[in-house]
């Protein structure tokens, strides 16, 4: 409805990933996935499936196919180098007592 994509008919609706922001949350959190025929239906399905216990105040949906993910094969080159660099944590400073919200 919102966007027509030129694709051949499929036996199953495409997969969407759902992100919900809770009442007290500052960010949207990935809660799961679902099938829907289009973006608007995905939003409504997400409302029905993932916010029925009063969890959310805002929903994002995105087609799973539109997410670019890192590959498990790249795990070491991507993440291993940061494993031994503890000095990148800002824990080597003394915080003055009068600095709030730290």
């Amino acid at each position: 409805m919102s966007e027509v994509r030129a694709e051949p008919p499929q036996a199953q609706w495409p997969l969407y990933e759902v992100f919900v922001r809770g009442k007290r949350g500052l960010n949207h959190v990935h809660v799961g996935s679902l099938h829907a025929a289009d973006d608007q239906m995905a939003l409504r399905h997400a409302r029905d499936v993932y916010t029925r216990r009063n969890e959310g105040v805002s929903i994002w949906v995105v087609r799973s196919a539109d997410i670019t993910a890192s590959s498990p094969d790249e795990k070491d080159p991507l993440f291993a180098p940061s494993g031994d660099k503890v000095y990148r944590h800002p824990t080597f400073y003394d915080i003055p007592a009068d600095v709030p919200h730290m």
Binding site: M1, W13, V20, G22, K23, R24, G25, L26, V29, V31, L34, H35, A36, A37, Q40, M41, R44, H45, D48, V49, R52, R53, N54, E55, G56, A97, P100, H101, M102
Partner: protein
């Protein structure tokens, strides 16, 4: 991290992030809940000038509409075309069941004489007694809600027609002089708005979909349409409740409902069916307790377990 956080004097003063931690009793939910009680603090006395018997009868009408439609929708549980629609239909059924519960409880409180007698010491609450121990002639729902569920197209079409009508009623009822009716209506408006949106989207999708989905949708519309006239018929109770400022005469919402229905039918490329209205018997219809054959089967299924255990705790 926690230790650092707790040791910080700023914590006691309250930090902006404290709200992220689910406090109170809802910590076990992913995002917190805090459901609101729709009737908390609502005045339950019958307003002056409103006949308690009329108020009870009126609440039974609106409550029975919701209860019976809810039951029809629950017939889809585990049978819907896919998981997401299954949950969507169950959500809608639960919304309606919630409305029915409050309305039947209001009916029982306004006029206890409407509640069927149960054995002494039965723990069944009045709203359950009304739902599960009344016989067919005492149900006041319109006949549209009791029609057999049929296929998905028929379900969506019936839900659409009912939601358009009920939304128009509830919107006006939100200013009822009866505080309970007003509160139930105000809460129901948001629910039924979503039901209408859900059903209207599917109605257009199915009607504009494949040849088969269009055929099924127009067949459903034609078979349900005869029961639409009854939605706007004024039973004796409704005009009296409207005159007392506590109810809505359904005859007065017809123009508004027609406009919405016509708009969606136009988007769906469907015509209003030219079929005669379903007749009553000596002017008696669903509101008078006159129902169709399908309703007896529905009640049997809905009531059998409760009736077998009148002393049961649920």
């Amino acid at each position: 991290m926690n230790q650092t956080h707790d040791a910080n004097p700023a914590h006691e003063a309250g930090s902006v992030y404290d709200g992220l931690l689910a406090g109170e009793a809802d910590g076990h939910w992913a995002f917190g809940t805090s459901f609101e009680d729709p009737l908390a603090g609502v005045d339950t006395t019958v307003p002056e000038g409103v006949d308690p018997g009329d108020l009870a009868g009126y609440c039974l009408m609106l409550g029975d509409d919701a209860l019976v439609l809810s039951h029809r929708l629950t017939e889809w549980c585990s049978n819907a075309p896919d998981l997401e629609e299954d949950v969507a239909l169950a959500n809608i059924a639960l919304d309606l069941l919630g409305q029915a519960r409050l309305l039947l409880a209001r009916a029982a409180a306004a006029d206890p004489a409407v509640v069927p007698a149960l054995p002494d010491g039965s723990p069944v609450p009045p709203e359950d007694a009304l739902a599960f121990f009344r016989d067919e002639p005492h149900f006041r729902n319109v006949r549209l809600v009791e029609a057999p569920t049929g296929d998905f197209a028929a379900t969506v079409t019936r839900l659409f027609l009912c939601a358009c009508w009920r939304l128009a009623l509830l919107e006006r009822l939100a200013t009822s002089r009866d505080q309970v009716l007003a509160a139930v209506a105000a809460k129901g408006v948001t629910e039924v708005t979503y039901h209408r949106d859900y059903a209207a989207r599917w109605l257009v999708t199915l009607a504009q979909g494949t040849e088969e989905s269009r055929r099924r949708t127009s067949t459903a519309l034609a078979s349900l349409w005869p029961a639409v006239d009854e939605l706007f018929g004024s039973h004796g109770v409704e005009p009296r409740m409207a005159a007392a400022g506590a109810g809505v005469d359904p005859a007065t919402v017809r123009a508004d409902v027609d406009a919405v229905v016509d708009q969606v039918l136009a988007a769906a490329g469907l015509e209003r069916p030219q079929v005669p209205a379903m007749s009553g018997v000596r002017d008696r219809t669903g509101r008078d307790g006159l129902h169709t054959e399908a309703f007896g089967h529905l009640l049997a299924e809905m009531q059998a377990v409760a009736r077998a255990h009148p002393m049961g705790m649920w």
